[in-house]
């Protein structure tokens, strides 16, 4: 479902990723780890096509970075849910409005928006705080709103870029559990993190470790080193 095929991304200051290949199948929980500057955020940006690879191909849910037309990019993003370390909520809208916004911009029917938003907020445990503004919520709750916004379009994969980076330990555990629940319900999760304690706490999860822009370790490769590459 997400497939990096010998992907290189170069910036004027140097290469962020070099010949990176890995595969995240449907419904999987995958960690993308590595130190700061290892290329995790660049890899996520290539998935939601905020950036295009310099070489190689990124395939996401039927779209290919080498063939996608610019007008198709919004369609790709509607199939993804994206969560950031800094939440990226609209400060002047309530939790409910922030989540609804993700549906409104896709042109969803107005009558269906309310129930879907409430369902997403209930899923992240914030049904009772729908009318509160981000500044009235704790960090963990703000991240839950961001996750609800990412979920409301029923994405095939949830991309989370250091989603617990700004949270205390308790909120981190809560958010991580939420991501596991979402994955258990069938949505693939690709989580970029440098928190190895989190990684270790989820046995059997797919782990891709980046070092200096290259794949240093891929647990899927180790488990099945002879598996032929999918076309």
């Amino acid at each position: 479902m997400i497939k990096f095929n010998h992907v290189t991304k170069e910036y004027p200051k140097g290469a962020a990723l070099t010949d990176v290949s890995f595969h995240v199948p449907k419904g999987e929980f995958c960690f993308l780890t590595g130190h700061s500057g290892a290329g995790k955020t660049t890899a996520l940006k290539l998935i939601y096509l905020a950036e295009l690879p310099t070489a190689g191909d990124v395939r996401v849910s039927g779209f290919s970075s080498t063939r996608i037309a610019p007008r198709e990019v919004p369609r790709l993003r509607r199939r993804l849910g994206i969560v950031f370390q800094d939440f990226r909520l609209l400060e002047d809208r309530t939790a409910e409005e922030n989540v609804a916004f993700a549906l409104e911009v896709t042109g969803a029917r107005r009558s269906g928006i309310g129930p879907r938003v409430m369902r997403a907020l209930a899923q992240v445990g914030l049904a009772g705080k729908a009318h509160q503004y981000p500044r009235e919520l704790s960090g963990g709750e703000q991240q839950r709103v961001a996750i609800a916004r990412a979920l409301v379009n029923d994405p095939v994969v949830l991309l989370a870029d250091e989603p617990t980076g700004n949270l205390d330990e308790r909120a981190t555990r809560g958010i991580f559990q939420l991501l596991r629940d979402i994955n258990a319900a069938g949505t693939a999760v690709l989580m970029a993190t440098h928190d190895l304690d989190l990684v270790k706490s989820l046995e059997g999860a797919h782990l891709v470790e980046l070092q200096h822009g290259s794949v240093a370790y891929d647990s899927a490769e180790e488990a099945a080193p002879t598996e032929p590459e999918a076309p």
Partner: protein, 285 residues
């Protein structure tokens, strides 16, 4: 409520100070442009009033049969430059001279015979009231046998032409400069509004909004700000016009059509400014 309309209203509600500042800036830059427009309108009116007096007069030979003149009048009226032709008999010419030149009353009283010739006073259509066309019509009138002499005040008509050309050139250059300044100021104002909402634009893109969807509220916002700024500029111009009329001189204001066009231009500049600003922003993020 329509989403585009709601987002536009929200933009005004969320940043009322910035919105008011935008509208005021647009209003004042258009006000300067509008003042210049008022000056231009009034200069044109004065020139138009003077040009009204451009007339080609063909003096007729004595003893010309009236039938020949009548036939010629309909020919002259058919000239493309001609608006109207009026026949002035010798007696009418004398009566007019007595009326218009009272200082020569004594001389006119003592006349034994009327020395003034009959004439055809030819008025030109507004667009032909210049030296070149007046000269052309004069030459054609000279071709009639019964025409003795033709006058149209070629010197002052040539001066009027020069005045008109200078006013036109100055109007064009200064007007273009004012318009350019207004466009730059309005463009910058709208760019500020776009930058103010750049994080929102980023989020919209991440959740899959198309560029067209992102653009629409900004375009409507630019249009509304431009129209409000245009209306403010019109109100300011009206205030300036009233003040000039009360304390300085009698001036004309814009016609309703011109006033509406001015407000519409404000809207269009707002729309174009938004289109450029949001387009540039979308390309850069």
């Amino acid at each position: 409520m329509n989403l585009v309309l709601r987002e536009t209203l929200l933009a005004f509600r969320r940043a009322p100070l910035l919105s008011a500042l935008s509208v005021t800036t647009i209003g004042f830059s258009l006000f300067v442009f509008g003042l210049f427009g008022l000056v231009t309108v009034n200069i044109q009116r004065v020139i138009g009033d003077v040009a009204e007096r451009v007339e080609v007069v063909a003096y007729l030979r004595r003893g010309t049969p009236p039938e020949a003149v009548t036939v010629a009048v309909s020919d002259i009226q058919a000239f493309p430059e001609v608006q109207s032709v009026s026949q002035v008999t010798e007696a009418q010419a004398l009566a007019r001279a007595r009326r218009e030149l009272p200082e020569f009353q004594d001389i006119f009283q003592d006349l034994e015979s009327n020395p003034l010739p009959a004439s055809l006073d030819v008025r030109l259509k507004p667009e032909f009231r210049d030296a070149a066309h007046a000269g052309l019509v004069a030459d054609r009138l000279k071709g009639f046998d019964f025409v003795d002499d033709v006058r149209f005040g070629s010197d002052w008509v040539a001066k009027l032409d020069r005045l008109r050309n200078i006013a036109g050139a100055v109007g064009l250059v200064v007007g273009a400069a004012f318009a350019l300044v207004a466009i730059i100021i309005i463009g910058t104002t709208i760019r500020m509004a776009v930058l103010h909402r750049s994080s929102e634009i980023t989020i919209m893109r991440l959740v899959g909004a198309t560029d067209g969807f992102i653009r629409r509220p900004f375009l409507l916002e630019g249009l509304v700000k431009g129209l409000l700024g245009g209306a403010l500029a019109l109100a300011l111009c009206y205030g300036a016009y009233e003040a000039v009329n009360a304390y300085l001189l009698h001036a004309d204001f814009f016609t309703t059509g011109q006033a509406l066009m001015g407000v519409a231009v404000g809207g269009l500049i707002g729309l174009a400014g938004s289109l450029v600003s949001i387009g540039r922003h979308l390309r850069s993020v």
